[in-house]
Symmetry: C2
Subunit: 357 residues, 2 copies
């Protein structure tokens, strides 16, 4: 997915801009494309928690820039740079529990701090910013590679009828996406595509974000309610399902936006492939199975609206876990993989990443 | 479910009131409990088409009263009573395609007309009204019996954790409901209940109607997004699923509100029972399997809202079909049944209904 053909330049959901972390405020899409310039770690934390920025890779990138921001602010305010950078890591770690990319990115930032002796603290702001830039650049490269991996494994049917859930596109990453990256590559390769986007309640990331970014790239897209996906698959109108992930356990179980698991059940029932596309930073060898993935429970107002009637409660898990047995393959920057995803396997693949990158 | 204990009197979603068909306008719930007095067949047809009244049994009852209304209006306006009543049947037949109760009720009204010689046309308004009253009374009795049938088959666990989709309650029927009737009976019998109501996009019948009517009866209810049902079932938090139906084919395949089928897949995966509760009038022996059930496709605005972004379409099937293989049993006023539901079986059961009623 380089700059040719009809696909527009990648989205820029998270960028460093004039000493601020500049985010597309995704809560305002598709009505308004507006930026939020976060000028403090508090603001970055709030942006992550309120879903102004969301998507596992994008959260990781944002948090990394947030740590760099903390170091920059410390210099300006004459505070201890190292303490403030470490404080930023702690604060950002508490924003959301499920996406492992967040912890992965923060661990990298901490490693940068630990590699620099106390005497050289004044180098920290620049070194942390460079690491954040590197995390973003790697993510963009990862998107390009997942695009090619996906293009190779997807059925060769034209038009290719794809269903996706939530938004694992440019907006959820550095700019190219995970689940949507192969679709951009397919469109660029001249393949005929027809995409069904689950609206993705309660926050409608499919209707608001996926539909918007695919329409921006002139890829035909139709929105359906989440409950309609299973029967549309059952009646033979979908060739493959592709989704992203927020955390993938060692056995291959994948946490993703609530509503993913029933789509996987329907795909198996219909005998069509169900792909999970994610960078290696989404894999967590320290989580043995999906049962151990912490699932964020969010507020009732997301489901009930502001005026919840008396005597009516809500249950609002933000993610579900799709068991590995329902997943055809795991599309990563190192190819279409199969579990188990042990620490050793991932370390070896990461090394290949370094060589390739 | 007679008048004792804590369960309030049945809802009155459809009643004949002073020469008008009085409906609870369900589009306004739960914010407002308002009545719509339909004074013409056109109004009744509009009420059905716009979902002011919905639910397969309630649609049938409303249409029956609509035909009686047509005959009454014909008298007042000095028009041909028989022609207008037959015209009402034709007009109401075109309002919605999936619920077979509509056609069943209209067939009964036509039989009344055909049984009366032309010379006695002036008896038509009263005779048609009596038949509509009979359809309503039978439905209320059916609800009471389904309640008992459900109470007997449901697991004896306390608290009993039930999940339902859409609204197959009092509002969807003459007043007691189908899927919710056994829950009212269980509450009245002193059983401890905990109900999860799928919100049921796009029109939120679960959040707006099911939650409202269960809260009204002081049955604990929590709303969840449709996509959350599968994982909440998978993690062991649900003992049984019970839903209504809009049409049941001869082989047992059941059409119900979009989003029912993935819940059935999740129930099978978790090994919990999945019950379909419906009166015999919902069974259609002339439709061999679910493939032959016509599924209504409704407007894109229900999914996208009024401001649909450029280049974004929608797909909006109002129903899906759950295959018989996923259904534990079919709870009717004649007991918990198993397919096939042939014309002969249903005729025999209907005869028992007559005897019992």
């Amino acid at each position: 997915v380089s700059g040719q053909a009809s696909i527009p330049a990648p989205l820029e959901p998270v960028r460093w801009d004039q000493d601020a972390v500049r985010l597309i405020d995704q809560r305002l899409l598709p009505e308004k494309l507006e930026h939020w310039y976060c000028r403090s770690v508090d603001e970055v934390a709030r942006a992550i928690r309120t879903l102004a920025v969301r998507g596992a890779p994008a959260i990781g990138i944002t948090a990394a820039y947030g740590v760099a921001l903390g170091a920059h602010r410390a210099v300006e305010r004459g505070r201890n740079i190292r303490d403030d950078a470490l404080g930023a890591i702690e604060q950002l770690r508490g924003t959301r529990p499920t996406a492992v990319n967040l912890f992965h990115a923060l661990d990298r930032m901490r490693a940068v701090i630990e590699a620099i002796p106390a005497a050289k603290d004044r180098e920290l702001p620049q070194r942390l910013l460079e690491e954040a830039h590197r995390i973003l650049a790697e993510d963009l490269e990862t998107g390009r590679r997942i695009a090619q991996v996906g293009l190779e494994v997807m059925p060769k049917r034209d038009p290719l009828r794809v269903l996706t859930h939530c938004n694992a596109g440019g907006l959820a990453t550095g700019g190219w996406g995970t689940a949507l990256a192969p679709l951009y590559a397919a469109a660029q390769a001249g393949r005929e595509l027809s995409v069904l986007a689950d609206e993705t309640r309660p926050l409608l990331q499919g209707r608001r974000l996926t539909a918007w970014e695919l329409a921006r790239a002139r890829i035909p897209v139709r929105v359906l309610v989440d409950g309609a996906a299973a029967s549309v698959i059952a009646r033979g109108d979908v060739d493959l399902v592709i989704v992203g992930a927020d955390r993938i356990a060692a056995n291959g179980d994948a946490a993703n936006k609530i509503g993913t698991f029933p789509v996987a059940l329907a795909a198996r029932e219909a005998g069509i492939p169900f792909y999970v596309a994610a960078p290696l930073s989404t894999f967590d060898p320290d989580t043995p199975t999906g049962r151990e993935i912490p699932v964020e429970e969010r507020g009732a107002e997301e489901v009930l609206g502001s005026a919840s009637p008396e005597g009516v409660g809500a249950l609002n898990p933000a993610f579900d876990v799709t068991p590995a047995s329902l997943i055809t393959s795991w599309l990563t920057e190192r190819g279409a993989l199969q579990p188990p995803f042990t620490r050793e396997t991932l370390a070896r693949l990461a090394k290949e990443n370094d060589k390739a990158g």
